[in-house]
């Protein structure tokens, strides 16, 4: 018995020594470390690392150490345990939720102290990272959707320009859609695929929005019109035919309906054009234009929804000064432009839109033009944002799959939205 006790005691002592010996000398001279965990990996991760190297070389006060952590939950759990990084990135759709839970360091103090100019940023991008008037993250890029159109298919139907309003869109859809003898669709003339992009963006493009936190509005004329148009299209050409068409080619694959010339109109983001022209190198005669606005809602030209990729500092970060130094440097015009062109993004600064690095980017001028529009807005930034998005997509689903009418679906959705906290 004595032997056992002595042996165990010895084991504990040895273990204690091992851990004690692992302590680093914290009173070191030299640059202080800033840990940066990012969601990108692969080629994109390398572009991020290149920017990190640039930052480290440009000054000697801080050294940023990057780590690719593509798992959002891992980052959340690490921050919750207090073992998180000094800087990380996320999407604007999560910013308000994180801010309300107290895990984001408010940036207002740093912005004022350093005189960091936010007027150059797109107003909608700044809105997407603000909660109750306080800024909790910096937006590096914006997500904009535009209308891609097949010029050959339009010309064959007698159109020399893409549809500009919702009424034109309905006319174009009828003229462009081709059906074969059995009723299956051979050319889709409406931006029905991919369904999720229409659902998320059409109401915004028609000049609508979802209100403000505390006063959410789903049952708006813009939402009604957006839902009615796609519902009518599906009723006219048959739900089964449309579902079959939408499954006939994977999104962005070589069999994608737009890429194979079977879809005349399509709502998609800046990466789509890059994919067609550069990655797949397909010789498709296509153009890019703003998504049709509403003929009946005044001032809805060049409306749209902005979502941004953001960088934030966790509130329990060890090195907040270093973190701020890094992200404020990264969001300056030149760095933002360089990182954006490498990743295929649209930068969040108006001045960066004119940067020469973008001169070779396919379709960039069209997206930049839309980005300068004053009618861009964003999804309401609040804690229940994700749940509101689910209500919107579920509402569209009931109409799109023919289990509810437009009016009843929107009334129900408004009731559910009113109950969100």
């Amino acid at each position: 018995m004595k032997k056992m006790v002595l042996t165990m005691l010895f084991c504990f002592l040895a273990a204690g020594l091992v851990f004690a010996g692992g302590q680093e000398d914290t009173a070191k001279e030299g640059p202080s470390k800033v840990t940066f965990w990012y969601l990108w990996g692969g080629v994109e991760g390398e572009k991020v690392e290149a920017m990190i190297e640039k930052f480290n070389a440009s000054q000697d006060k801080y050294i940023v150490e990057g780590l690719s952590v593509p798992d959002q939950q891992k980052i959340q759990v690490a921050i919750a345990a207090g073992d998180g990084p000094d800087v990380s990135d996320t999407f604007s759709s999560l910013t308000a939720s994180y801010a309300k839970k107290g895990i984001l360091e408010p940036l207002g103090g740093y912005i004022e102290r350093d005189g960091y100019d936010l007027t150059d940023f797109m107003p909608s991008a700044v809105d997407s990272v603000s909660v109750d008037g306080e800024i909790y993250a910096l937006p590096i890029s914006v997500n904009l959707m535009m209308l891609y159109y097949n010029k050959d298919l339009l010309a064959a139907a007698g159109f020399d320009a893409p549809p500009a309003t919702d009424e034109e869109l309905v006319r174009y859809a009828d003229a462009l859609t081709k059906v074969d003898a059995s009723g299956s669709i051979s050319v889709q003339g409406f931006p029905d695929f991919p369904e999720v992009y229409y659902v998320e963006h059409m109401a915004f493009s028609l000049g609508g929005d979802y209100g403000k936190p505390g006063a959410l509005t789903i049952n708006t004329p813009a939402s009604q019109r957006a839902l009615q148009m796609i519902s009518d299209y599906r009723a006219k050409y048959g739900l089964d035919n449309i579902l079959a068409f939408n499954s006939s080619g994977g999104y962005m694959s070589a069999a994608d309906p737009f890429i194979t010339g079977r879809q005349a109109l399509r709502i998609d983001g800046p990466w789509f054009g890059n994919h067609i022209t550069n990655t797949l190198a397909v010789n498709l005669n296509y153009g890019v234009a703003p998504v049709p606005h509403s003929a009946s809602i005044a001032g809805s030209e060049k409306s749209g929804q902005v979502q941004s990729s953001t960088f934030f500092i966790p509130s329990n970060a060890q090195n907040k000064e270093g973190a701020w130094a890094f992200i404020s440097w990264l969001h300056e015009e030149q760095q933002m432009a360089e990182l954006s062109v490498g990743m295929g993004w649209i930068p969040a600064r108006i001045s960066a839109l004119g940067n020469e690095v973008f001169s070779d980017v396919v379709n960039f001028e069209a997206f930049a033009d839309l980005a300068r529009s004053e009618n861009l807005t964003t999804f309401p930034a609040f804690e229940g944002q994700q749940e509101l998005q689910k209500i919107v997509s579920d509402t569209y689903q009931t109409v799109l799959l023919n289990t509810a009418g437009v009016d009843e679906a929107l009334v129900k959705a408004q009731k559910e939205a009113d109950q969100l906290k």
């Binding site: 939720s97 895990i103 999720v196 579902l243 079959a244 499954s247 994700q386 799959l401």
Partner: protein, 302 residues
């Protein structure tokens, strides 16, 4: 080594099982009790939990999506389990005869189960494609209706049962093992009395297998109540990453998927914990009912 004293025995036994006991309390019992506590709070992973009483449960029982997810899960449990058990049983009975290539057939039916589930789920997405998929091409060739398996809300769960039926290997193995224990003398006696194959099956094989069937029924209930992986992969293939997934009209929103979403997307740990405890009660009730009824239909021994 002989210890005469009972207390010495107890102390030694206790010390030997101490590592396991410590592990059990720390990693199993403590988190379970913590989750019960969290179900009465508004815990969001980052801030200290605040007590809110039965608010989470009240929110759950007024949530349409909660009932939908429960319905979907019970659908899989009560429609899927019988399908899997019947198929597994049939395969086992068929492969209990000495036929040529027996080892090959047994292996072939078992292999789908050991293939990585994520890869096979993605493969099935292709097979079930309404336009280019093999299944629909085959159905159209024999002039049967070819539904949109993954986009039609009425057929999405049927697709999942189809995939589950393909992976019934272990059920077959279990029944095969149980079949070996059926005394051959019973069959010989039946042959002498002139019983046909069907009679032998229903009067001898089936009753002898009821303990194994009971085990399978309980296992299937427990497994299907936690159904997650295939649904997450398949509905995720049509929706977007890191967004909420649920399939067309939430027909693929299962209880475990909704729990996961509440926990990690909406960061509503309290609500998710409440869901976990409700599931525990549901599973416990169902298992209790099955056990109680088992006295009526399970034959042990002879």
């Amino acid at each position: 080594m002989r210890s005469g004293c009972k207390t010495t025995d107890f102390r030694n036994g206790f010390l030997f099982s101490l590592p396991w006991l410590v592990g059990f309390f720390l990693f199993i019992l403590y988190p379970i009790i913590q989750s019960l506590y969290y179900s009465f709070t508004d815990f969001n992973l980052f801030q200290a939990p605040g007590f809110i009483g039965l608010e989470n449960f009240r929110e759950l029982f007024t949530d349409d999506l909660f009932y939908k997810s429960l319905y979907n899960t019970l659908y899989m449990t009560f429609l899927g389990s019988p399908v899997y058990i019947v198929i597994g049983l049939l395969m086992a009975v068929l492969l209990n005869n000495k036929i040529r290539g027996l080892a090959f057939f047994r292996t072939a039916f078992y292999i789908p189960y050991i293939l990585p589930i994520v890869a096979t789920a993605l493969l099935w997405v292709w097979l079930l494609n309404p336009v280019n998929g093999l299944l629909n091409m085959f159905l159209r060739a024999i002039h049967l209706p070819a539904p949109n398996w993954l986009a039609d809300p009425a057929f999405t769960k049927v697709s999942l049962i189809l995939i589950g039926a393909w992976r019934t290997g272990p059920i077959m193995i279990l029944f095969l093992a149980a079949l070996q224990d059926v005394p051959k003398t019973l069959y010989e006696a039946a042959d002498i009395d002139g019983a046909g194959i069907i009679r032998k099956f229903f009067k001898i094989t089936l009753p002898a297998l009821t303990p194994a069937i009971l085990f399978q029924v309980i296992m299937q209930i427990i497994v299907n109540l936690q159904y997650f992986t295939e649904a997450y992969i398949i509905s995720g293939s049509t929706d977007r990453l890191n967004q909420s997934v649920g399939g067309p009209l939430n027909s693929l929103m299962f209880y475990a998927t909704y729990l996961y979403q509440n926990a990690f997307l909406y960061l509503k740990m309290g609500k998710a914990s409440a869901m976990a405890w409700v599931l525990f009660l549901v599973a416990g009730t169902l298992t209790f009912i099955v056990f109680k009824s088992s006295k009526k239909w399970v034959f042990y021994g002879d």
